[in-house]
Subunit: 357 residues, 2 copies
Amino acid sequence: MEIVIPRRTKEELRRKGSRRIPRTIQLSQGAGGSMMEALIENLIAKRLDIKSSFVGSGIDKLEDAGIIDLGDIKLAFTTDGCTVDPMFYPGGSLGSLSVGATINDLAVMGAKPIAISFGLILEEGLPLDILERTLDRMSEVCKESGVPIITGDTKVMEKGKVDKLIINTAGIGIIQGDIISDYGAQPGDKILVSGTMGDHGMSLVALRFGFQSNLRSDEAPLWHMMEQLLNIGGITSAKDATRGGFGPNINELARKSNVCFYVYEDKIPIKPEAKRLGEVLGIDPLSTACEGKIIMTVEPDKADEILETMRHHKYGKEAAIIGEVRRNPKGQVILETEVGGRKALHTSVGELHPRIC
Amino acid sequence: MEIVIPRRTKEELRRKGSRRIPRTIQLSQGAGGSMMEALIENLIAKRLDIKSSFVGSGIDKLEDAGIIDLGDIKLAFTTDGCTVDPMFYPGGSLGSLSVGATINDLAVMGAKPIAISFGLILEEGLPLDILERTLDRMSEVCKESGVPIITGDTKVMEKGKVDKLIINTAGIGIIQGDIISDYGAQPGDKILVSGTMGDHGMSLVALRFGFQSNLRSDEAPLWHMMEQLLNIGGITSAKDATRGGFGPNINELARKSNVCFYVYEDKIPIKPEAKRLGEVLGIDPLSTACEGKIIMTVEPDKADEILETMRHHKYGKEAAIIGEVRRNPKGQVILETEVGGRKALHTSVGELHPRIC
């Protein structure tokens, strides 16, 4: 089956070259869409691509983590900068988010997290109790995941030069078996998500707009669940659906693996409240961040066991098989609607919702 | 010989406990003095101290890097947050500084840097050419040191929520032989510095005050020089004299090693121009940052060879033996003046000079 739907492809962006990158930094370049991809791929990664025998997978691959090859041991190495407004919200906080994001970036590569670093940028005048509560949340998430924070850095900036508190984390993990890559999805694989999409983003949007809501961030450190899944095997690609949410991240997997992700729209788990709020505000839950959810492809004979194992884990209760990988149209995500129609799910260009981080 | 000089010791700070930490963040807590020590030791490190079998040296040790123990392989892991105003200055830039600082933190632990991560926090509206030039400087320093940047993260914040550009870097190194620790200086060791003290700080001060000056930042990635010194052996402790400069960093070595660092004041290399500028402005070049200098202790029979090797390296031409480690007074740095008098060199409490970063 061939479905050809024209869209702005990565190749087009590349052909148009750096003219597509505006000469001053735009908010949209940090929002997880194609504007951000263009900045990172065409400008940042190119300028920082340095060869070394230790590099198993470098910055040019734009994976969730780089791979360091030490012979018998392969390490995953990743980093995240975090800022959220507000810093504490239902279901999470800046502190837990910062550490969880790094643990999850390692987990989706198939790596057991073994060490985390933090870099704090503090604004002069920040109340100390905010710092204390933030550190406590960081510590809790690390303890839950059995990962030590072994090094750190603290800077204080003058009042007004930074907004309260920025946390950068970096993490090292040991690859347990095969590296799980964004490039590994194969035709025939099943597509799974580990739970409802868009909870983090939609809960923050509800908070910002003052809506009464039971929505909570889905923030969660996913290593322990991922460890169980790695023991089953058969995972061919995986990504945590963070910035930009489901849409940009599943598109990235399809594009990098050069296959079609064929998804049944009605099988994508979304909390009814998130869907309703999205309709009211015109925000698509599929284009807003998750902070504790994985999108993955799995060999077909392992899909049911992976699904059951996820559903037995506290962070995967609403996991679902949402579609399958097909050969064509390559690099595209096709949604089959409830009435049997088909549409392409595109990566957003810039921002689609109020900024939450 | 016993010299007892009362001073505000770490133990005193500790006894006074958290009452010494103000309830809002102060600029002085980021300046490299005892205010910063108290914040990091008594609040941050305590809350983030998590045990794991992989930890060879944890955050509680407050070394330049944490150590991950993988059995046959030991890794050093470090991180730095960087912000400098101005972003480009004689002898360096924010980009080169950010990467160099991380390379040096690994080098002084005795680790060969093998991978670096970056986290960019960009202010909306930042001119793209500033980002491009910054990335190019990062790349140059990495290439000089043979270290790849293998992973990164980019965030964009709204205009006014961050001052232009913050870079966080993290780095991984492989310990080459023995770990060089802050705790290893022994009575009888010689004390060396790899060149003139305070160049980075004094050059930025000159720039800020609009003084005509030939002063340049001493920014340099020191791995290749350190590699030569590690091959000679005999280094018992080492630290790069960054934030706070010579004073706080040599005090930290003395305190952690629980020995006396006995230093001949007239042997400490300082550029005459830095000294004169310091006199005019009342700023001590020994209390302002270096970004390419190491303070180290060396077994006495290796000191001359280490010194000669440094002096043959482009980053160590003005290296000097400045004193020796003695047994008492423990944890103190004693300066012998040109006329034979003695004074204790204390760690500054907060800031001693205009903020440069």
